[in-house]
């Protein structure tokens, strides 16, 4: 990403002659606000997904045109225009899985970089032409999704379900190196989009079997491990151990780091959320708050040490990870300018916290049907209701396992002061099937019956109060999972769960545009190509690019 290229059409014309030869990302470019390109997971470090592009506005959004669509080609090709570059530690006994586009993709210098479990593609952003394809022969792991790549200079990085961090040459897809980031034997699986901060690459993993969560920093040049931060206590004396019954429980306590966080250059803090404690549903084995699971926290990128934390779901017993991407907000609270971070958790609570100190400012329920808690503690953390844990005769609980929101990124419009999030109000009956006092393992020991949804909606929340300024209830169900994008023209793009990509007027919730391409499986993204604004969204295995002429 070269700054001079982004400004003049002349340069863009030059660029078009050789798009794949120009692309590179200087880490300093990632400090710029989201505009012409999309060089990191959330577009920029704030997590706001607020684009400064203004070509698409409330008056003309109805005239968006489909520019191209591409169904990702997962075939391993040995001949033809694109020959698949192959790597991996697997024995080759598995055919590649079909594409599963549940991430945020990068657009740099006219090239889009797309990932799916075990696959990476480079596409010409003008027409979707495939430039190269990389396939990783897997050893296994859970192939649930891949949240996207990272780019540092001319290297691209992605994680694999069998826990390798792979570095590719962005011009050719040729592999630079790969390193193991967690043992598959312990049933880790990796999905996170790595995040570049300066000359560090931040990497998380996932696990559903009682193994501890951690965030690691690697040298993007060499793949060398620089530090490893465990989210749950590993040794006597570690902070948070007092919130577990014993060290064994803490060491097996989960708290995975599987969704990218945000970065504050002022403090050098990487701010992110952690996943659920384990065993997930049988809290009997781990009485206490279970720090630092389901926690919003800041880690110093230089040292890998925790600066502050705020627990968003003490002693979770419903697999409600709190790993969703938070949003940095420079706001005003009680007349005072404040540096803030907000997050809408899977458990149905919205939080605004001082991002310098972790001080709680707002804790407010946005899941209007959530029924699992007994209110909020003085420190701003919700209080779980033990009656809503899995019990033998069944507990009626909202939300369902997928949560009120999930990994799909929210958005924040600083002009309007509004935080946008989906609100899914499912109900399930949760039965305890393993009443063993030792607790179960992983996500075992329960049976769940989803008995209905009531009033799924889309919310625009005031970050200062958590109150909905407007709320759009989807008729006929809808909701569930699509990421969100907002723009300087006051638009909000997302999916409605009924197969439509939609555009709202971000100020009042009026629906301005829709197109029925299927349920959006990632978050809409936008960028500028040849002076025109594009909008990209994925539906399962297919990309759709819209353009404003």
């Amino acid at each position: 990403m070269k700054n001079l290229i982004r400004t003049t059409l002349t340069c863009l014309t030059v660029l078009s002659a050789a798009p794949a030869l120009q692309a590179q990302v200087d880490p300093a470019d990632l400090l710029n606000p989201l505009a012409d390109e999309w060089p990191t997971y959330s577009g920029d470090y704030t997590g706001q997904r607020y684009s400064r592009l203004t070509q698409i506005d409330k008056d003309n959004v109805q005239h968006l045109t489909l520019a191209w669509t591409v169904r990702m080609n997962t075939n391993i090709r040995n001949t033809g225009e694109v020959v698949t570059v192959q790597g991996g530690e697997g024995d080759g006994n598995y055919l590649p899985p079909g594409a599963n586009l549940k991430g945020n993709y990068l657009m740099v210098d006219g090239v889009i970089y797309v990932t799916s479990p075990d696959h990476v593609w480079a596409l010409d952003a003008r027409d979707g032409t495939e430039l190269w394809h990389y396939f990783w022969h897997s050893r296994g792991g859970i192939h649930i999704g891949n949240r996207g790549p990272a780019i540092w200079h001319d290297s691209l990085f992605f994680e694999t379900p069998d826990n390798y961090l792979v570095s590719l040459n962005i011009h050719t897809g040729a592999e630079n190196w790969h390193v193991e980031i967690a043992p598959l034997e312990q049933q880790y699986f990796s999905t996170m989009a790595p995040i570049v901060v300066g000359d560090r690459l931040l990497v998380g993993t996932g696990n559903d079997l009682d193994s501890p969560g951690f965030l690691q920093a690697f040298d993007p040049a060499s793949g060398e491990l620089l530090w490893k931060f465990y989210t749950v206590p590993q040794n006597p004396g570690d902070p948070g151990l007092e919130t577990w019954p014993n060290l064994d429980a803490a060491r097996n306590g989960g708290g995975q780091v599987w969704v990218p966080g945000v970065y504050d250059p002022e403090t050098n803090y990487y701010i992110f959320g952690t996943g659920n404690p384990t065993p997930g549903y049988t809290g009997v084995a781990r009485p206490g708050d279970n720090l630092f699971t389901c926690t919003l926290m800041a880690v110093d990128v230089a040292t890998g040490e925790m600066a502050w934390y705020h627990q968003t779901s003490p002693h979770d017993t419903h697999d409600w990870d709190s790993a969703q991407t938070p949003v940095l907000i420079d706001g005003v609270i009680d007349g005072e300018p404040r540096k803030l971070v907000s997050t809408a958790a899977r458990n149905g609570y919205f939080f605004t916290v001082d991002r310098m100190t972790g001080e709680s400012i707002v804790t407010k329920k946005y899941g209007t049907q959530s029924n699992w808690d007994l209110g909020v503690r003085e420190d701003g953390s919700p209080i779980p209701n033990p009656q809503k844990e899995a019990i033998i005769p069944g507990a009626i609980v909202s939300p369902i396992e997928g949560g009120v929101a999930n990994w799909q990124p929210p958005a924040f419009n600083p002009d309007l002061g509004l935080f946008y999030t989906h609100e899914n109000n499912g109900f399930n009956i949760v039965y305890l099937t393993d009443p063993d006092p030792r607790g179960s393992m992983g996500l075992g020991g329960k049976r769940v019956a989803i008995v209905g949804f009531d009033g799924n909606a889309f919310n625009a929340l005031d970050y200062r109060t958590g109150e909905a300024v407007w709320r759009h209830e989807w008729p006929g169900g809808g909701g569930v999972g699509a990421g969100i994008l907002t723009t300087a023209t006051g638009l909000v793009f997302t999916g409605d769960g009924n197969g439509n990509m939609v555009a709202f007027d971000g100020a009042n919730g009026e629906l301005l545009w829709h197109t029925r391409i299927g349920n959006i499986s990632n978050g809409p993204q936008t960028w500028l190509i040849d002076g025109r604004q594009y909008l990209l969204a994925a539906v399962r295995d297919t990309l759709y690019a819209f353009v404003m002429y």
């Binding site: 024995d91 080759g92 859970i142 009956i429």
Partner: protein, 316 residues
Amino acid sequence: MFAKLPSPLLISIFLLLTSCREQEQSAVVAGPAASPVTKTTPQVAQAQASPEAMPFAIFPAQTRELAAAEVLDRGATVYESLCRACHGQDLRGGDQGGPNLLRSQVVLNDQHGELIGEVIQNGRRTPGMPEMPPLQVSAEDRVAVAEYIHSVWANQSGQGGPPSGEEVELDIVVGDAGAGEAWFNAQCTGCHAANGDLQGIASRIPDPENLQNSWVAGRRWGAPDPNADPSRRQVRATVTLNNGDTVFGVLNRRDDFIISLTTDAGHYASFTLHENTTPAVTDIVIDDPLQRHRDLLSELTNDIMHDVTAYLVTLK
């Protein structure tokens, strides 16, 4: 400097180097170092015959080739006599404080007894954990007990559930049937009758858990009912147009932009909403027989739910 090294050999050498470096970095790691890097090819016994699509989840512990039956029998015997007291009959930890072996990093990383055997032979002292003494076990038996532990893992259910053992009978019927009947009479008799449509419901849905799920959701769990009348569950809609027409039928789909119906004559009809169309939809009335069930979701407490279930199981 490694940006242009496509050769697999060089990549392998580089991987080796970075692996070593990773080990050397353990001094700056906050917490224990990463487990030893294992580079052996996983055993994928179930997938050797022919290539197949990648299953959703596959881990070495569930796909490994098991040892011969006599080795596993021998391992089970050794486990019973030496390990069970501390680690439990099901390996999930015992009365004397031994940790759950099924989620143990040593067990999960072990291939064929090289790690488990080392702990058996030398014992283990971890600060904050119960101490494990060294045990006098032959090398052969150490491998056998490791293989036995791995065989238990191979029977593990899905994402970290406990191993399938004896089925535990759990009685979910704990409520007050009298209170449930009173609530039913107050809330449900507008649509249902104990001596009408729900007569014998507990015989038709004999499993109380299925019965509870069914009555809360308003749709049947368990085996389908061959005598069910699907029209009872159908959502119907009446669409009124600005030319005075009304269209009535079974609702197919509704979102912010369209509504579609199938009329009683079997004709499909759809109408655009939210735009200036001719004719335009001026009114939609939805008749959803399950609306009351949806409303109930937020009203139900555990106690009411259990009481009503306790009442319904009496309707044999």
